[in-house]
Symmetry: C2
Subunit: 260 residues, 2 copies
């Protein structure tokens, strides 16, 4: 009998988020699961390495009674803690999510969900980020099961295949009934259209403060992209790399007069 893979489950919404529980339950069907997740919400927190203060880790319990760890660090800190030795058993896979909003297009560098998987990829450990494209004006509760099952499928495929180290999978699942999901699409990263607006308010003492507000982001619905796929009812899987070099622009830059 083969050894079960050791899977770290984390997220950016905090250890008590229902998306994490759904993901952990599904991952337990295919591996030994360790949960180490932030003790609070870190949405749109980016790729953090906390070095200016120490991190605490404590035991807590999920809603199903399972014993897990949480930390006062960011999602990527949780992954770093685990990989650097807080978790003694070596990890075979890091799965992050399930985020209750899609992480597509330019979201990937902001997203705590994606940057947690990025942290794994930097250490050469396969990583998967999982997000549910929940309906825009609903505050839930959401059915995370279809996304959790999609994550299990992707994890099984990833664990048994040869795949470039340093590349992670970014999974986005449409927030529609599972029977209506049309299948899978391997996609490229699409284009987000942010609709952020600056909202100026005054505090009770007449001093201004500013919210980054506006409507939720939309995107350009191209067929072969992450955003296009989920809008058409497909599960989107996008390979995300850590090399951000724009090779076309590099050729352009080489023609510029740097020396003069």
């Amino acid at each position: 009998m083969e050894k079960k893979p050791h899977i770290l489950v984390t997220n950016d919404d905090g250890v008590n988020a229902p998306g994490l529980l759904a993901l952990a339950k599904e991952m337990r069907k295919i591996g030994e699961v360790t949960v180490l997740a932030p003790d609070r919400n870190w949405s749109a927190s980016g790729h953090v390495k906390t070095m200016h203060r120490p991190l605490r880790v404590r035991h807590t319990t999920l809603a199903d009674g399972s014993k897990v760890f949480c930390s006062d660090g960011a999602p990527s800190d949780c992954v770093a803690l685990a990989i650097l030795g807080f978790i003694e058993t070596p990890l075979d896979l890091v799965v992050s999510g399930i985020n209750p909003n899609a992480n597509v297009g330019h979201d990937v560098t902001y997203s705590g969900t994606v940057t947690a998987a990025m942290e794994a990829a930097i250490s050469g450990i396969p990583g998967i980020a999982v997000s549910l494209d929940s309906p825009e004006h609903s505050s839930g509760p959401f059915d995370f099961k279809p996304a959790a099952r999609a994550a299990r499928k992707a994890a099984l495929l990833l664990l048994k295949q040869d795949f470039p180290a340093g590349t992670l999978l970014n999974l986005n699942v449409p927030g529609i009934p599972e029977g209506e999901i049309k299948g899978w699409k391997v996609t490229r990263q699409g284009q987000r259209i942010y609709r952020d607006k600056l909202v100026k308010r005054e505090d009770p003492r007449g001093k201004p403060y500013y919210w980054i507000g506006g409507e939720a982001p939309t995107g350009i619905e191209e067929e072969d992209t992450d955003f296009g796929a989920i809008k058409q009812g497909f599960i989107s899987v996008t390979p995300i790399q850590l090399d951000l070099t724009d090779m076309d622009a590099l050729a352009v830059l080489q023609t510029w007069k740097w020396r003069s």
Copy 2:
């Protein structure tokens, strides 16, 4: 006479960092400069969009007496505030830095300096991140002038050329006397080697806490990369894109059995 370009200067070390002053002074030679920078250090803070709390902006003064803005947001928040309308005059360029450590290889997604320029690129505004590869075991003061002059050169070239929207320039300048700098190299993103170690301590009450510690990162010294160039004494300029799709891995993923 042409209209002077409007340049936003920000950083991730906080508005009072000497690298920001050196950069702002040099940028004033080629444009109208607005400074809006974080009021504290945000190193390795990643790409942040603060939406769970409002942001404050206040006036402050740099060491040369110039009037600037600072905010309690992250570097990328400062750029968002400016672009979304806190700064009324439209921006032609965002320059972020000067960071007193190199931002090369995998640093780019962690780096507040780089993600500030990324935030500009997402909004279609040219962005430059500027970092000085200061000597490893020195705590300064550093001579930011050569890096500031390199930033001015890059800004001048970028402002007068056609360059892909959504791509930013990541500049790294070797921390050696200006006369010893060998010239410029257009590079690709290299490979960092992180040497992080988990350092466990106990607080006075016997409870453990954890530092992400270890030695400063090194890297693989390849000739055509950011890390390789600065180690050989060249100024490195790397085009960084927002599309993180791994196209080779995409072809691999398309051969996997997603449907079964």
